[in-house]
């Protein structure tokens, strides 16, 4: 059983976006399937008689597993049985269907407004349970619990952590009656629960997550000049942290969350600085007449990768966290920019010009091997999932900005389209604090 190469499906329904209740629909479409995705059955979770859950947990899990490109969940209509508990499972039935793994679950309601979500994952061919947990949840936590269960299933079956219980931040631009309207939004990694955290009539740019996933740094041109802000995603409280003359751009959090690497042009041309958030102290890292920008911290905090045209065209360089020992990293082609580290620190994803096209590539830091993953012409802003399995990026379809994701091996692709307006600059959050 294999996934079709061009399997298309619609996942998401209407979402309420923003405080004004504007209706935005984010659609995820798989544009290139993966051969050899593992067949898995996720049985709808049983509920107490008369209780209708606000979320379909099994459907969320199925969607997540399918979106990973690694699994091919059985369509609900093809489920030959709906076991509620382990004792109800007849493994031979599922073996006949060629299903390797089976997920069952049930939701209990110990008290009004409180749920207990239980699930079990079985290896069908060995007839044994691989994992199972019972997780308490309020009604508004059911989606999150479904994402956490998805992470547990993914990790058990692949040996790698999941990245479903994460978020993405992105910027939208819509043409309004009085010009463009910009918004910074945050959504679950499946596109659900999108909400606007900032609106502005002036451009917004470069959202960057703190390593605990609680704060976003970004650039806002409110007041017709650039400034960097830090905003708490939960409370919405924000503060301006850099508003020097000229560029205030490209914020990147240090892994310890105490510093921001930023690009400033206050000393004449774009240079990279480290801003110590506690006392606003500035430390200059680059000193070059060229454009130096787009800093990204290595996960261990010891290095920063950045873009510079000091060699005549934009290429990636690496320096230590004090600005010393500068080393050029990219050599293929004459445009490599906008790098993001994988969480294991072994790879970068970046924008690479391939002929006339701007595409997303991965650079292996050890071998310096560069591999182009996408086939668009205006692909940009790549951001690794925290588990390194996927890269989300911005692309253009019919002249409109949309988001897309590609597996780190390039074999699997999907597209996230927002109804109306452009979507751009996705940033994948780190693993959220539990």
């Amino acid at each position: 059983m294999q996934m079709k190469d061009m399997m298309r499906w619609l996942l998401l329904a209407a979402l309420l976006a923003g405080s004004r209740g504007a209706l935005a629909v984010l659609t995820i479409e798989i544009t290139q399937g993966m051969e050899g995705a593992s067949p898995i059955a996720v049985v709808p979770f049983a509920t107490p008689a008369g209780v209708t859950l606000p979320e379909d947990i099994a459907a969320i899990i199925s969607s997540n597993l399918r979106r990973s490109g690694r699994f091919a969940p059985l369509p609900e209509a093809d489920l030959i049985a709906r076991p509620r508990e382990a004792a109800d499972v007849r493994f031979q039935d599922w073996r006949v269907l060629g299903v390797g793994d089976l997920v069952i679950g049930r939701v209990l309601q110990p008290a009004p407004g409180r749920y207990e979500v239980q699930f079990q994952l079985f290896d069908v061919f060995r007839s044994r349970q691989l994992t199972g947990y019972s997780i308490p949840a309020r009604p508004d936590e059911l989606r999150r619990v479904a994402h956490r269960i998805s992470d547990l299933i993914y990790e058990t079956l692949t040996g790698e952590p999941g990245a479903f219980d994460t978020r993405i931040a992105y910027v939208t631009a819509e043409q309004g009656a009085e010009g463009k309207r910009y918004a910074l939004q945050v959504a679950d990694s499946d596109g659900h629960n999108s909400r606007t955290v900032l609106r502005s009539p002036q451009p917004l740019m470069s959202p960057a997550w703190s390593s605990d996933g609680q704060q976003l740094a970004y650039v806002s041109f409110e007041g017709r000049k650039a400034a960097i802000y830090v905003q708490d995603v939960g409370t919405g409280a924000r503060s301006e942290v850099a508003a020097f003359d000229g560029i205030n751009g490209a914020p990147a959090w240090s892994p310890d969350g105490r510093r921001l690497a930023v690009t400033l042009s206050r000393d004449g041309n774009p240079e990279i600085y480290v801003l110590h958030l506690a006392d606003k102290r500035l430390q200059r890292l680059t000193n070059n007449a060229a454009i130096d920008t787009e800093p990204a911290w290595s996960p261990d905090g010891n290095h920063l990768v950045f873009t510079s045209d000091r060699g005549g065209a934009p290429q990636l360089y690496r320096m230590d966290s004090r600005g010393g020992n500068v080393e050029r990293l990219s050599f293929e082609g004459n445009y490599n920019a906008g790098a993001d580290y994988s969480a294991d620190g072994k790879r970068l994803t970046l924008v690479h010009r391939d002929g006339r096209n701007y595409r997303i590539a991965v650079l292996e830091l050890d071998s310096k091997r560069l591999r182009v993953l996408t086939d668009g012409s205006l692909d940009e802003s790549p951001s690794f999932a925290p588990n390194g399995s996927m890269i989300i990026y911005a692309t253009s379809v019919g002249g409109r900005g949309v988001l897309a994701a590609v597996s780190a091996d390039g074999r699997f692709r999907q597209r996230l389209t927002l109804s109306g307006g452009d979507v751009r600059e996705p940033a994948w959050s780190p693993v959220l604090r539990r």
């Binding site: 470069s206 041109f221 650039a226 560029i247 690009t263 873009t307």
Partner: protein
């Protein structure tokens, strides 16, 4: 039209030379309400005649000169090649007129808004827009404009002038706009 442009070019070049020779140039206290002098036109200049404007005269022109389609001051956008911050000769002529105007009006300020086309990385494009703005700043300062009259803002690819996705739009978007204070 082309002839008219050529004539302007000659004037501006001559003016630039004088300015260069006289270092910072003049910072005349001429009244802002001076009007464009019409001294007749030779090269088929319809509308306002332009021929006989003297070298220092840009500095004496009033704000309305910015609205005169026949004046180089009317051109407040300069364009760039891909991934380049190099000023073309034609741009230097336009900028010489603005430099004279600003030098003659030290009370005026100008924002240099640098832009790029949509291709490539957004923050790199912010850097590129800044470089373009700084190139224009340097040119203006060489010709007598005081540093505190100039502010550079880079918008990168965030505020395109043309919305298309091909070279015909991109070449209009690789630009620096001169935005006079209060505009």
């Amino acid at each position: 039209m082309k002839q008219q442009m050529k004539m302007w070019s000659g004037l501006v070049l001559a003016f630039g030379l004088v300015l260069t020779l006289s270092a910072c140039g003049t910072r005349g206290k001429a009244p802002l309400d001076a009007t464009v002098e019409d001294r007749g036109s030779s090269a088929g200049g319809a509308g306002t005649g332009t021929e006989a404007l003297g070298v220092q005269d840009y500095g004496r022109l009033g704000m309305e000169a910015l609205q005169d389609p026949a004046s180089p001051l009317y051109q407040r956008v300069v364009y760039f090649e891909f991934d380049s911050s190099t000023l073309s000769e034609a741009d230097q002529e336009i900028l010489a007129a603005h430099a004279a105007f600003l030098a003659g009006h030290p009370e005026l300020t100008v924002a240099l808004e640098g832009h790029t086309d949509e291709r490539g990385s957004r923050e790199y494009n912010i850097g590129l827009g800044e470089s373009r703005g700084q190139a224009v700043r340097r040119q203006l300062e060489f010709q007598g404009v005081r540093p505190d009259q100039i502010r550079v803002v880079s918008y990168g690819e965030e505020r395109p002038a043309a919305d298309g996705h091909d070279e015909s739009a991109w070449r209009l978007n690789r630009r620096v706009e001169l935005v006079y204070g209060g505009q």
